[in-house]
């Protein structure tokens, strides 16, 4: 799976985390025990505008849910995908169509055709990475629970 490393570049991940404001979550569940709901809740807490994309729900996490990316009425900085890998090419085409800032596919949401479609359309891709974990690694408090962030730095920055 070495081809995946191309879509896990730390500098791209940090740039997306620090510049994004709106995040459309495709496949966001209304069930608060599901992973997608954990991620959406977390991102809202950290100041991102979370846009649910799920045709089966009218509203999730207090925001209107849209049937597809094409229905979202505002610019989308990150398309964050919690769907089966074979749904990914169509989502990648939509991400290109709405000129999304990045396509971010969660753990296990892996599809090389979709990655090529998004990149070909000028949308940077992050794949097989969790948006919540990467935010917690570089900006948040993942280290408070003993997880290996892999970070080594002697720079003092930010209040926690």
């Amino acid at each position: 799976m070495n081809w995946l490393e191309r879509y896990q570049d730390p500098l791209t991940i940090q740039r997306v985390l620090h510049t994004a404001r709106t995040i459309a979550i495709v496949g966001l569940s209304a069930n608060e025990l599901r992973a997608s709901n954990f991620v959406g809740y977390y991102l809202k807490r950290h100041g991102y505008e979370v846009i649910p994309v799920n045709p089966r729900e009218p509203e999730i996490l207090g925001g209107a849910s849209y049937p597809s990316l094409l229905d979202v009425p505002i610019p989308v900085d990150v398309v964050n995908v919690f769907r089966a890998p074979d749904a990914l090419p169509a989502i990648a085409r939509d991400a290109v169509a709405i000129k999304a800032g990045a396509l971010w596919c969660q753990f296990g949401v892996i599809n090389d055709e979709a990655a090529r479609i998004a990149e070909g359309g000028g949308v940077p891709v992050i794949m097989d990475r969790c948006l919540k974990v990467e935010h917690a690694r570089y900006v948040g408090r993942m280290h408070w629970l003993g997880f290996n962030t892999g970070r080594i730095t002697s720079i003092r920055k930010g209040l926690q």
């Binding site: 570049d9 730390p10 500098l11 940090q14 740039r15 985390l17 620090h18 510049t19 994004a20 404001r21 025990l33 599901r34 992973a35 954990f38 809740y41 977390y42 807490r45 950290h46 100041g47 991102y48 753990f107 296990g108 969790c130 974990v133 917690a136 570089y138 900006v139 948040g140 408090r141 993942m142 280290h143 408070w144 629970l145 003993g146 997880f147 290996n148 962030t149 892999g150 970070r151 080594i152 730095t153 002697s154 720079i155 003092r156 920055k157 930010g158 209040l159 926690q160």
Partner: protein, 433 residues
């Protein structure tokens, strides 16, 4: 969300990571040393934040029985050095081991374990697991086929020590991981005697690594503690581990593996097992372990150098036999040492003193520099007679299986001037009849 200085993806060396991993300068004070957060609890910003922390929707401190910022630096540093997804610290190595097992076992399950273990681990596996209605099979650590033959439909884990205590057997980690993974079971390895400097079991496909931090990690004989590291690659949703994968009645129906993915086992280990067993590591002990970790590679280099010389001396001594140091060229474990322990085979081993039980006790009575005590991994050299101390609760058959005879002496070779260590053993052996 201001843009900050981005961090490059550099693979830092072990010596850099043993000093830096897990800690950034304290953002509030700039403190360079790891602050000791001597607090039981943490003020919440508001009710929503408190709820998010307890729901595990947000990473936040709640109570020091479950997490503490000083302990967290220690946990992340060991996890980083071992190459795991994360770590959870405990008040002792034995508590860490119990929690690692309880997180994945249910009554009616079965464990296959090396028979050559630390006596305290033998007791825990044999008696504590039986009280939980968990079955156990002891196997010869040197024969992977025996592990395969011990498999049952209800087997849930393989367990062994990288370097066995005190018989010095070296575990064929990769071979055992292969057999375990054919059956979709995790391999659990106690890496206490090797430390992550000499061996990193996860790189050989082990799934869970346990340490008694009391030993070489602390390195100075000051503190009791332990830590569990998980690789984060085991598929707990393979159908064999409903206790990890299914909705948890102990955490309002949370599915730990589905929700937290590669961090699911560790999250459950902390939020349930540590919470319920209560064996939390204190922040001051975590601080002392961090001080130890800063010099781990430097100490281990000297430990193995001295151990090699002491073992070579004993090998030529007429009153010492069965020297179990796996780093000796004559050891039957030499090929496994070349593979798993290329920087050295640790610093704990045993030998048989002439004169059996009386001879062993006479030797211990006459050493003046080696300390007679029940610990290993101190910077100071330690000596003990296992049959009358650490392994006293074991019967003759179990003693034999653990590689211990009446005259067996266990050494933990420290970092003193090596000529002084050899001098002391030499003069004490002269008293042995």
């Amino acid at each position: 969300m201001s843009e900050r200085q981005a961090e490059e993806a550099r693979s830092f060396g072990f010596e850099t990571r043993q000093l830096h991993a897990g800690q950034r300068p304290d953002p509030n004070t700039g403190a360079r040393a790891v602050p000791i957060f001597q607090t039981t609890s943490y003020v919440f910003e508001d009710p929503e934040s408190a709820a998010a922390y307890f729901n595990l929707q947000e990473y936040g401190n709640t109570y020091s029985r479950i997490m503490n910022p000083t302990v967290a630096v220690f946990e992340e540093r060991v996890a980083n050095l071992e190459g795991g997804a994360g770590g959870v610290a405990f008040a002792s190595g034995i508590a860490a081991q119990a929690a690692a097992l309880f997180t994945l076992l249910e009554p009616g399950d079965h464990v296959v374990s090396s028979a050559a273990l630390y006596g305290g681990s033998v007791n825990q596996l044999k008696h504590l697991l039986r009280k939980m209605n968990i079955e156990l099979t002891w196997v010869d650590p040197d024969d992977p086929e025996e592990w395969r033959k011990a498999l049952r439909p209800n087997t849930k884990a393989f367990f062994g020590e990288t370097i066995g205590n005190p018989a010095g057997n070296v575990l064929d980690i990769e071979a055992l991981a292969t057999i375990a993974h054919e059956r979709e079971l995790p391999l659990i390895v106690d890496n206490t005697f090797a430390t992550p400097y000499l061996c990193r079991p996860i790189a050989w496909d082990a799934d869970i690594v346990i340490h008694s931090a009391t030993k070489f990690i602390g390195g100075h004989g000051t503190s009791i503690g332990g830590v569990v590291v998980e690789a984060g690659t085991f598929n707990w949703s393979n159908g064999r581990f409903p206790i990890v994968a299914n909705p948890s009645p102990a955490y309002h129906g949370l599915e730990f593996h589905e929700t937290f993915g590669m961090y699911g086992y560790l999250m459950k280990l902390r939020a349930e097992s540590l919470r319920d067993l209560g064996a939390a590591l204190g922040p001051f002990n975590a601080f002392l372990f961090l001080q130890g970790l800063e010099t781990l590679s430097l100490r281990m280099e000297r430990h193995v150098q001295n151990a090699q010389a002491v073992a070579a001396f004993l090998e030529t001594h007429e009153r010492a036999s069965n020297i179990t140091y796996p780093g000796l060229p004559s050891s039957k474990y030499a090929p496994l040492v070349d593979k798993y322990l290329p920087l050295g085979a640790g610093a704990v081993f045993s030998f048989d003193c002439a004169g059996g039980r009386d001879g062993g006790q006479e030797l211990i009575r006459n050493v003046t520099l080696w300390s007679h005590l029940a610990n290993v991994g101190d910077a100071k050299s330690l000596i003990i007679h296992p049959a009358s101390t650490t392994h006293r609760q074991l019967g003759d058959t179990e003693l034999e299986a653990a590689g211990i005879r009446p005259g067996t002496i266990r050494l933990s070779v420290g970092t003193e001037t090596v000529d002084d260590l050899i001098w002391d053993l030499d003069q004490a052996l002269a008293h042995v009849k």
